[in-house]
Point group: C2
Chain length 193, copies 2
């Protein structure tokens, strides 16, 4: 769902090649100059694109950073293993691996969001998308009668995402994803009752 997420995140607009070229330029800048070198001006220069074009795709630097992150991490489709704990464990495993490998881009986005309003706005929207992505997975679990009656799916989705981000910011990506999934999902499961 990478392309779908991208389309949703950054808006459906013509010429995705141009967007890709701009993200390439941003990635190259980031590699060479770090996060502080990644200004809209510098990206426009590097990509030989107008700032208007940049803004048309990404309303602020945070949105562009997140698009870069989404492109790097690739698909974020949640698996359908037939077991919610398994689905969550697989995602935690994949996400923790990505976070360990792609040069901390996402944790830097979180850091930037703490003092840059544009990045914060993009992160807030990104959180909402990540939570929403879990809802169909949780509905499947509900249909399989895995969950307690009347489970608040949105609260559960948020808990899944909150724990992942919490583990990232407190540097515990080496934790066992299956154990974490069981801790997060456990109290929501009917069979535990």
């Amino acid at each position: 769902m990478s392309s779908e997420v991208s389309r949703r995140s950054i808006g459906a607009r013509p010429n995705p090649d141009a967007a890709d070229a701009i993200l390439d330029a941003a990635a190259s800048l980031l590699q060479r100059k770090g996060l502080r070198g990644l200004t809209t001006d510098a990206i426009a220069r590097e990509a030989r694109a107008s700032k208007t074009t940049l803004y048309r795709w990404w309303p602020n630097r945070g949105a562009l950073l997140l698009a870069l992150y989404v492109r790097r991490k690739g698909s974020s489709v949640h698996e359908d293993t037939g077991s919610l704990i398994q689905d969550v464990a697989r995602t935690y495993e994949r996400v923790f691996r990505t976070w360990q490998n792609e040069g901390q881009l996402f944790s830097l986005i979180i850091a930037e969001a703490q003092h840059d309003d544009g990045v914060a706005e993009a992160l807030v929207a990104f959180r909402k998308e990540r939570v929403d992505d879990w809802l169909p997975v949780l509905r499947r679990a509900e249909e399989r009668s895995e969950l307690v009656d009347g489970a608040d799916l949105e609260a559960l989705a948020e808990s899944i995402v909150a724990h992942a981000w919490f583990y990232l910011i407190t540097r515990r990506l080496g934790s066992d994803p299956a154990i974490l999934a069981a801790r997060v999902i456990g109290p929501w499961l009917r069979k535990n009752r």
Copy 2:
């Protein structure tokens, strides 16, 4: 428990007045020069203390930042209202108010921790303390038979803390603390089953 937390966080050592003077100096520097001006050298100069003294109290800049934060936010004793959801709601309410009022110090600590190993180390230790602080509260709830049988108290404590920090980093401190508490604690309550 402010003093108790401080003692535990930074080690029980003589002459707390000297520590206070150093924290005063750090607070003043932070106010005037921002986080980047808050180096060990600058603090030592400002407080007319030796760097050795600083290091004896706080092994790194992150530990000092957290001590400053703990001193500012004051007591973090969790209330005993006789209801776990209430206890958690009260804490969320107090903590969110602190986070909104004290100039984002804690979110800046989280940001710094993403690229400063000393701050990260201090934040990891701080997380552990915050989780441990919840355990007696959860044991009380267990004794009142509020919780499902065999509830993993450590997992629940972590979830309480994870959600608070998640709301901070995604800028939702205006959320209703009672609703959040009910969302986080709900699935762990026996009466819901």
